[in-house]
């Protein structure tokens, strides 16, 4: 009997030793990190067991990851402002708003050893670095491609003209009611980019810096476009559905939808027309009042691991922000992935950034984002 008690005591001592060891591990973080992310950005294998870059992180660091999906940039800003989150994968049309609204905090990149591996063209991107201060870690990026139906276009369209102006397409039918546009105020920049080369006398040098006259010309184009766009697309699955069942043949889109439709053997391809394209570059930013900063830094470091970057890019159809991810660090992404997801188009892309009053040329008469939002709703919502 005495022996059993002794055994139990030993067992208890061992158990408490193990428990304290576990506790010691968790002490490096707060045990939790809450992230606001685009759907599909943070996968734990629930959709496809092969795509999981969360579980390993959780066991290594003891930080449990909770993810809140956000459908639009405006929703992300809203969620971060409401508090309780640590990180947000903000796109360029939200990042400056978050910085100037003091909703996110400066990142100490010396705490992120891998930051030096980030694509040099993005390390100091003006959508996340202000006055030399870093406010986030580049996550993924991608072009807003022109997606088209190969039955309607035997050869790839060379200009965004096909979605802006009424015309007869190569298949002999009008493009009226057969083209779509993105339903977000930032789409105004797509129209500005088109006018930049179509109408040089307007003097647009940056599609995100528009003065009143340029802004008015862009809105005029969008109003005219409204006549041939019967429905704007909001989320990726609905656009896929529309291209399958509603007879749409051209639209600005993401490589993600193109991939989904191709996988479904729909006659779909994508291109970047001569005018170039707008694109998004997402940055993982840390909320000003982040409740779990230690775990947040651990995730920031984890997020630019080449394998994670390749896995995300492969799942989301985006391009990685770490060049090493292109060289086969991720089996899922392989060595072909970067070319397929538009990694080489970087120089043609005008990345989303929040329109601010400062035009960048010494003048401060540019139209700000709240006006973009208001005017865009007026055009789409009528």
């Amino acid at each position: 009997m005495k022996k059993t008690i002794f055994n139990l005591l030993v067992l208890f001592a061992l158990a408490s030793l193990v428990l304290s060891a576990c506790g010691g591990k968790a002490a490096t973080g707060e045990g939790e990190v809450a992230i606001v992310a685009w759907p599909g950005y943070i996968e734990r294998g629930a959709n496809d067991p092969a795509y999981d870059w969360v579980t390993a992180f959780e066991t290594q660091t003891g930080c449990k990851v909770t993810v809140k999906d956000a459908g639009t940039s405006d929703e992300m800003v809203q969620l971060i402002n409401s508090g309780g989150f640590d990180l947000v994968t903000a796109s360029g049309d939200a990042s400056l708003r978050l910085i100037f609204g003091k909703s996110v905090q400066e990142i100490d990149i010396s705490k992120i050893p891998s930051y030096k591996n980030v694509d040099e063209r993005m390390q100091n991107g003006n959508w996340h670095t202000v006055n030399g201060k870093h406010y986030g870690v580049p996550y993924q990026w991608g072009p807003n491609v022109l997606m088209y139906n190969t039955n309607a276009f035997p050869t790839a369209p060379t200009s965004w003209d096909v979605v802006f102006n009424e015309q007869t397409l190569p298949d002999g039918k009008s493009n009226k009611d057969r083209v779509q546009a993105y339903s977000g105020p930032i789409y105004i920049a797509d129209a500005a980019l088109y006018l930049m080369s179509k109408n040089p006398e307007l003097g647009i040098t940056d599609p995100y810096e528009l003065n009143e006259a340029q802004f008015a010309a862009v809105l005029e184009l969008l109003k005219q476009q409204r006549q041939i766009v019967p429905k704007y697309w909001v989320d990726a699955p609905t656009q896929v559905e529309d291209f399958k069942n509603e007879g749409f043949v051209a639209s600005s889109s993401w490589p993600y939808q193109v991939g989904l439709l191709k996988a479904d053997s729909a006659p779909i391809a994508s291109t970047i027309p001569q005018e170039g394209a707008t694109g998004w570059a997402d940055t993982t930013m840390m909320a000003a009042n982040a409740p779990h900063p230690k775990c947040a830094y651990l995730w920031l470091e984890h997020s630019i691991d080449p394998k994670v970057q390749g896995d995300v890019a492969s799942w989301f159809g985006s391009a990685p922000s770490v060049p090493a991810a292109c060289d086969g660090a991720s089996e899922l992404f392989g060595t072909e992935g970067c070319a397929a997801n538009g990694y080489d188009t970087f120089d043609k892309i005008h990345f989303w950034k929040t329109p601010v009053a400062d035009c960048g040329n010494g003048k401060t008469d540019c139209v700000t984002y709240d006006r973009w939002a208001e005017e865009f709703i007026k055009i789409v919502g009528q």
């Binding site: 057969r178 339903s183 399958k244 509603e246 919502g381």
Partner: protein, 301 residues
């Protein structure tokens, strides 16, 4: 002890009443009126457009925005949609309810009752999505129209300005059809209940006294069933006013009140404008109820 408590309450019925009414009154005041007042207060703040933060300062500028032509258009469009959906629901529901109340056997009645309420058992969103497949350009209706060579008729209809569009699902008609479908049960049940309370003898007496069927309907049946019609119309009208899922999935991206509130509150974080927007349907409903009272809809209460 227990005895004394029960005696205490027996002698003071007012205390019992107060104790019983306290929880529901608290619920009503705090949760219901409270949230309405919070909304009202919020509608007097405004949003700093750039930083996306609400400025807690009394201002009327949010309400001034509400009178923007585009917003007035949204109110007009939504009210028109709600009114036509209500009217269509009445026209479809009345004959069916009349049949259920008057002619159907007990068995038939149970069956019809079940058939009417059965769709309510499944999720609203699932049913709405299934309509997308029915109304799409490559959907069931256009397929069937092609099959019986009536696709010219469908195209003719879809060319109508305002009602049409590239396909049924991308048109105001699509929104209308789906709304009528999802709110119909809420119209049938109150009308059927009201019709059941109309004594058969009154209809017979009206006929015996020489009234034509149309006269009987107009002067006897309709006035007696009217409270039921109004009760049903309050459901269909207010539910259509506030819905945001149907206009999101159907139609040509034009805004309805519900979608506008969702966009302002949910995606732009412009809670003040969303709150001000919500005052719209509240006022529309108050006007609606006042008119209904004028017409004598609540006399039977």
């Amino acid at each position: 002890m227990l005895n004394r408590i029960s005696t205490y309450f027996y002698l003071r019925p007012k205390v019992v009443l107060a104790l019983m009414l306290l929880p529901p009154m608290l619920w009503f005041l705090v949760v219901y009126i409270g949230s309405l007042i919070t909304m009202l207060i919020n509608s007097f703040f405004y949003l700093d457009g750039f930083t996306g933060k609400v400025i807690h300062e009394f201002t009327l500028r949010t309400y001034i925005k509400l009178f923007d032509p585009i917003n007035l258009q949204i109110f007009g469009r939504t009210t028109l949609m709600a009114a036509s959906v209500t009217l269509a629901c009445i026209i479809i529901a009345f004959p069916l309810s009349y049949f259920m109340a008057r002619f159907a056997s007990q068995r038939m009645k149970t069956f019809l009752y079940l058939a009417v309420t059965l769709p309510l058992w499944s999720s609203y969103v699932v049913r709405v999505y299934s309509w997308k497949l029915i109304l799409a350009q490559e959907g069931i209706i256009s397929w069937f129209a092609r099959l019986i060579h009536l696709d010219w008729l469908l195209h003719l209809y879809l060319n109508l300005p305002g009602l049409g569009g590239p396909s049924l699902s991308i048109s105001a008609t699509g929104i209308f059809i789906v709304f009528v479908y999802i709110w119909l049960p809420y119209m049938i049940i109150p009308i059927q209940t009201a019709l059941e309370r109309v004594p058969k003898s009154l209809i017979e007496a009206s006929g015996d006294l020489g009234a034509t069927p149309a006269q009987t309907f107009r002067t006897v049946l309709l006035p007696l069933a009217f409270p039921g019609v109004v009760a049903g119309s309050i459901f269909t009208f207010s539910l259509t006013l506030g819905d945001f899922i149907v206009p999101q999935l159907f139609g040509n991206s034009s805004f309805y009140i519900g979608k506008a509130v969702l966009t302002y509150q949910g995606t732009s974080g412009n809670i003040p404008l969303a709150a001000a927007f919500t005052m719209g349907p509240i006022i529309i409903m108050i006007v609606y109820l006042l008119i209904a009272r004028r017409l004598g809809a609540f006399d039977a209460l």
